[in-house]
């Protein structure tokens, strides 16, 4: 079955095929997949697609999702208006 067109990360519109291609060209960790495809780096910061990406990675690399490092969140963990970061309104 070819499910390459299935969208995995909706924020950045990354498909399963994009993720597989990245893994096959050497992005074999969660962090690398994120970086090379932008999956999980959009507005929701991977809250929806993280698990799916780990599954694809596990399938492609023959590891269990548990063996794969889950990657890190970078602050802010929720979207924050720039106006607030300026520190003028509190």
């Amino acid at each position: 079955m070819n499910d390459d067109d299935v969208i995995i990360c909706r924020c950045e519109e990354v498909t399963k095929g994009d993720i597989r291609r990245a893994i096959r060209s050497g992005a074999t960790t969660f962090k690398a997949v994120k970086k090379f495809t932008r999956a999980g780096m959009g507005l929701c910061q991977g809250r929806t697609c993280r698990r799916l990406i780990l599954q694809i990675l596990a399938q492609e690399t023959g590891q269990t999702p548990g063996q794969l490092a889950p990657g890190s969140y970078r602050p802010p963990t929720r979207p924050v208006p720039l106006a607030a970061l300026k520190g003028e309104e509190s």
Partner: protein, 400 residues
């Protein structure tokens, strides 16, 4: 056992570029990356291929040659590196900055850069989102933008297609020496004979050289960045500000500054990426190996950016991160052989310009290693240019 002609150490933008151009010349190349391709500075940065920010002299000449290579690179690599010849602006906020910018610009024009000064409404016509107080901007249609990670991946792919081997998760541990030559490398516990070795290890280069008695004046200079949610097109060019130029070339002026933003070396570097999000930077700080972002750094970046482009204040920040630029005292990279060694080379220390300079670095290093000659003179980039003297053992001592 015969090993590869050349072992390239480090899989950032520089190492992958060097690997590609060596393979293109027909060399048998092995790239060793201790973690993953593009996992360090080359993925914690902007993607400016900007010429206007280069100091007028060899630095700009080198960048011009690199920009030329970027034009056809996506086709050559058969990889979408998201190259856009978008043009760039260096925004001028204060009248007092005008004279310095005029001088900077005139010197750049003399080297062949197409750059001009746009005043007041001229620049706001080009970028209506600019704040009313903006005095003007220098504009160059030659400035461009790429996706740095796609550049790394594109070089690595194309190099593989030409027969290069790329190994991730394999750190260089030891260089085996035979007289004035490296005979082999020990990496990931394995001994690999090598015809030549190039260190493309960015900020990590000094630690590899210390055991050889070579001190390299290269140190990490942190840059913090803020990423926003995707937004409809608001700006069409890449942006720096005149203060960025000051922060880059005159750290001594910044250290003494009263103003918090100045002390952190905040200069605007802003782009709206292919995905619509903004990448907004940045600071220039000497804080060792600390790659964290700080509330103060982020606040000053955001204040600075929203003063220049007020509409940004409406957007949400979704992520912040920091990267370590490989800083050298004169802002130029080290490109060349390690003195005292016949077949050990360095290509590192590109500060905030490694993405822009990667193609030309790769090409010149390949020329140097394979033919001993280069199409662009590398004297200003010599590894021992800060050297005060050499000690008895033929080992190099370099002090800043």
């Amino acid at each position: 056992m015969k090993g590869p002609d050349v072992v390239v150490v480090g899989g950032g933008v520089i190492g992958t570029a060097v690997t590609y151009y060596l393979a293109k010349q027909g060399a048998d190349v092995l790239l060793l990356e201790r973690a993953e391709l593009g996992g360090e500075t080359s993925s914690a940065c902007d993607g400016f291929v900007i010429l206007q920010s280069k100091s007028p002299g060899v630095h700009l000449a080198l960048a011009l040659a690199s920009a030329e290579l970027y034009r056809g690179l996506a086709d050559e690599l058969d990889w979408d590196i998201e190259y856009r010849n978008c043009g760039g602006l260096i925004v001028i906020e204060r009248e007092e900055e005008l004279p310095a910018m005029r001088t900077f610009m005139a010197k750049q024009q003399a080297i062949g850069l197409d750059v001009r000064l746009l005043l007041g409404d001229e620049v706001r016509r080009l970028e209506p989102a600019l704040a009313p107080h903006i005095v003007g901007a220098t504009y160059s249609p030659q400035d461009s933008q790429v996706n740095p990670l796609q550049v790394v991946l594109g070089f690595a792919q194309a190099a593989r297609r030409l027969g290069a081997r790329v190994r991730q998760g394999v750190p260089l541990q030891t260089l085996r020496r035979a007289g004035a030559r490296v005979s082999a490398v020990v990496a990931g516990g394995e001994e690999i004979p090598a015809g030549a070795v190039v260190l493309c290890t960015g900020v990590f280069t000094p630690e590899l050289l210390t055991p050889l008695g070579v001190e390299l004046p290269l140190r990490p200079r942190r840059g913090q960045l803020v990423v926003t949610e995707p937004a409809p097109p608001l700006v069409h060019h890449i942006f720096l500000c005149a203060r960025y130029i000051a922060a880059k070339y005159h750290p001594e002026l910044l250290a003494a500054a009263e103003d918090e933003a100045l002390r952190l070396g905040v200069g605007l570097a802003l782009e709206q990426t292919g995905s619509g999000g903004f990448l907004i930077g940045s600071t220039r700080e000497f804080v060792g190996w600390d790659k964290r972002t700080t509330p103060l750094g982020i606040r000053e970046i955001v204040r600075h950016a929203t003063r220049i482009l007020p509409a940004l204040a409406q957007l949400n920040a979704i992520r912040t991160f920091a990267g370590l630029r490989p800083y050298t005292p004169d802002g130029l990279p080290f490109l060349g052989p390690v003195p005292g060694w016949e077949n050990l080379y360095i290509a590192a220390g590109h500060e905030g310009d490694g993405i822009a300079l990667a193609p030309i670095t790769g090409r010149l290093m390949a020329e140097l290693i394979l033919t001993g000659r280069t199409s662009f003179p590398l004297t200003d980039f010599a590894v021992d240019r800060f050297a005060r003297g050499k000690d008895q053992g033929g080992q190099l001592k370099v002090t800043p």
